[in-house]
Symmetry: C2
Subunit: 336 residues, 2 copies
């Protein structure tokens, strides 16, 4: 069966699609009411986020758009120090999409939501014309998380002199997996798309003094750290030889002239922690799912220069120093 | 200037777009932090909703996609009896879209959010290829509202025998405006896209016993009332001569063989209220912005038939009775 324009009409066909495809997997008391708005229990402070996922192809080694669309939103919520609670899903389907393909994505999304401990509370479906190429789909997920009372502010402007920068695992996997698939290159590279619920939950539970935290997605590590340095007006010193990259991704990058510092991941985060907590934080992260390759990659230094000299410096393996600037241009389009 | 694929990369160009286009209009303390997640104050019960807007053309008589994308989500939140508080915006832009066109939509969205009393707390931007036709854009908005403590449950399964059905204004305006524009038909029909904040807020403030409430969008009044009748296992009797349709929309429908009962609006709602409150409710609604043509259109009757005979009955102007079924097929694609 194929998706038709009628599936987006709001009438009988839409309702059939919801019952036969979505309700089959998104099965909870709140969603089952099939209201346009979901009513959920609240709390004192909320985190909200939204992300649209337009990745092509929709299935790739190690993941798919369904899983990705939970990971992206859950990880965004986690990075604010909140506990992700509820997510909404907006599906935008291209006419002609195979319902089996859709169902696989809905299933993956549902499974990933369970893994991440979030409830899908409401959704929406629209259909647009296919104007060429394989009919695809776009998924928007938005989410709400609760911030525990009394928790410290976490944000890119909170970096402190002497902080230690920890990265939760290998760089570039998602980017390299997508690109390999698009180019038809055969290798064993898998996307790292994963919810970071366990690692972040453990850090919070152990009251680690996290000053800033960000998942490494579009724009890569270079972009995130530049934002940290600018917001906090500080310098970040990185050690090139510590940056974790799998040998396969390293080879892939060498071949194509790519720099892992600017490549997107979907299951990695970087954080700036109080120096006294760094050892404990590293051990907690390494002991958490999807984070066994976590390492200390650098440190934060006060900005002793003129204004606007907040910078990210890479100390290269051969003893040189290189400024890591912002990423310019396209990066890889439709990577998430 | 045109949107390029680089605007969706997460790098420098994305950040320029956010600063130059979005931040210019979405200007509030929460959003200005430009975090992936927004932290907002909470409450005891939340309503959440999501909606993607794919309407074509993006500008039409009486509205545009920017205004529409606030109205849709705000009205969904209102219909749950909540006070809409925060919305998120996900923009999906087609490569080649003119930045001036985008800016007009962002502006309209921002102005409508102010009118509706909601705060835009976080956003996301993606770019996809244009595969033919005018480059367009899709907007997802998701929202959170707070439900006042002690308020009665409002929902399609709460209709009571004897309830009065009130409709807040003329049917079919949005649908007819979009279709006129697409077909190049010249007339004065305007979309009714509007946030229903004032009318619903007034009803809630006056403690009107609203049992169910729904905005009349895709699928039209017929679809909404069928859902009410099915969820509450009751019959709804409508009076055809009371259904409000402007003379211009009536002529337009006559010409094209359209039935206003299945046509989408974007600034109308239908509600089922306790009979004793009906007069007061009607007066409150009529006194509120965008609702001056509100009327009583029917009543709720107990289902005295066999199971599954919950129905919507139209008592026609010439004394006949007609079952109003669900809408089948496409309706008008990409109307919202």
């Amino acid at each position: 069966m194929k998706v038709t324009m009628a599936h987006g009409s709001g009438g009988e066909s839409t309702s059939g699609l919801i019952k036969n495809v979505f309700a089959k997997y998104f099965n909870n008391d709140i969603l089952n009411r099939l209201e346009d708005s979901a009513v959920v229990p609240g709390n004192s402070r909320l985190a909200m986020t939204t992300d649209s996922f337009v990745v092509t192809p929709i299935e790739f080694p190690g993941g798919n758009i369904g899983r990705l669309s939970v990971c992206g939103t859950v990880n965004d919520l986690l990075m604010s120090g909140s506990k992700p609670m509820y997510i909404t899903c907006g599906f935008i389907l291209e006419e002609g999409l195979d319902l089996d393909d859709l169902e696989r994505q809905v299933k993956a999304l549902s499974e990933c939501a369970k893994e991440a401990g979030v409830t899908i509370v409401t959704g929406d479906t629209k259909v647009i014309e296919n104007r060429g190429g394989e009919p695809g789909l776009i998924i928007n997920t938005s989410g709400v998380g609760f911030i525990p009372d009394g928790s410290e502010a976490i944000g890119p402007s909170n970096l402190k002199d002497g902080d230690v920068i920890i990265l939760s695992g290998n760089l570039g996997d998602h980017h390299a997996a997508i690109l390999s698939k698009r180019m038809g290159i055969e290798n064993n590279i898998q996307s790292d798309a994963a919810p970071l619920t366990e690692a972040v939950g453990n850090l919070m539970a152990q009251k680690i003094r996290v000053h800033a935290m960000r998942d490494v997605t579009r724009g890569g590590l270079g972009t995130v750290l530049n934002e940290f340095a600018e917001s906090s007006d500080c310098e970040i010193d990185l050690y090139e030889e510590k940056l974790p990259v799998s040998s396969e991704v390293r080879d892939f990058c060498g071949l194509l002239g790519l720099d892992p510092i600017y490549m997107g991941n979907e299951g990695k985060f970087v954080l700036s922690v109080h120096a006294d907590d760094a050892k404990k934080a590293l051990s907690i992260i390494r002991g958490s799912k999807y984070c066994e390759n976590a390492v200390v990659i650098g440190e934060v230094k006060k900005n002793n220069r003129a204004v606007d000299m907040h910078r990210v410096i890479l100390n290269t393996a051969i003893g040189g120093k290189r400024v890591v600037g912002l990423m310019y241009g396209e990066g890889l389009p439709r990577i998430c």
